[in-house]
Amino acid sequence: MNTTSSQGLQISTPTDTTIVLTRTFNAPRRLVWEAMFTPDRMRRWMLPPPGLTMTTCECDARVGGKLSVAWKSDEADPVMTLRGEFTEVALLEYAVHTETMALGSGQTIGSLVEKHQFADQGAVTAMSITQTYNSKEDRDGALASGMDQGMEACYQTLDALLGERS
């Protein structure tokens, strides 16, 4: 399975437990790395789930360094957390970190391992993110998460598809 958008995002599932996202960015590798792993920069692109606000964002991209993000809602603070640890890092080349999402109550929603790889492609930088889940069920769940939550985007897609049928 491969889906390509006009912006160049490619999503593939090379194995039963992985999702690979690949995209190029019009900036040098050094800046892409900084944007991905510096808390002040991360706050700018890590879009919160609908209705949530990011409260904490910590990221130390060194082996053993921690990743910690938290979101609050009107009802709860935190309502959701993301915690992980960097296990392999080669500056500007690649970084691997664990990642566990949990509810404010502490109940785990899911965990995965993320590997970010960066490569020069002429004047642009190619970044790939490989997400490895514990099982095929978890992987499929992540891919279909919007579906289960009945997100509006999904409705619109369905509307369009159903429109084609009728």
Partner: protein, 119 residues
């Protein structure tokens, strides 16, 4: 929240809201299958699998034809390319983040141009 959804869409969403039924659809993307072939990987009883098939049939996502004692199912909704549909909101979420990243990177490049780094 959109409340005036068509009943057909409600049926489709209800039908797709169960992992077993999504698994059936996934199997059917490989072509026509009979009921036992569909039931086997679901690790559920034949009647339970049949129930899920009926829900999909009711939503008009699959069509069933009977040949002797065999019931064959095939995907009815060809435009519902399951992979595209399932990954759509996942993809949109990431694409939105990457577009934000594009803008951020543009700003970072401007910052650098305004304040050249000393080497």
């Amino acid at each position: 929240m959109v409340l005036d959804r068509s009943p057909r869409l409600d049926l489709v969403f209800h039908a797709l809201a169960h992992p077993a039924r999504r698994a059936i659809i996934r199997q059917l993307t490989g072509g026509e299958r009979n009921l036992s072939e569909l039931a086997a990987p679901l690790k559920m009883t034949f009647p339970a699998a049949t129930k899920h098939v009926r829900v999909l049939e009711h939503a008009k996502l699959i069509r069933r034809r009977v040949e002797g004692r065999q019931h064959f199912c095939r995907l009815e909704a060809t435009p519902l390319k399951e992979a595209t549909l399932w990954t759509e909101s996942f993809r949109q979420h990431w694409e939105a983040q990457f577009e934000a990243l594009d803008s951020l990177l543009d700003e970072m490049k401007s910052e650098e141009r305004a304040r050249p780094r000393r080497s």
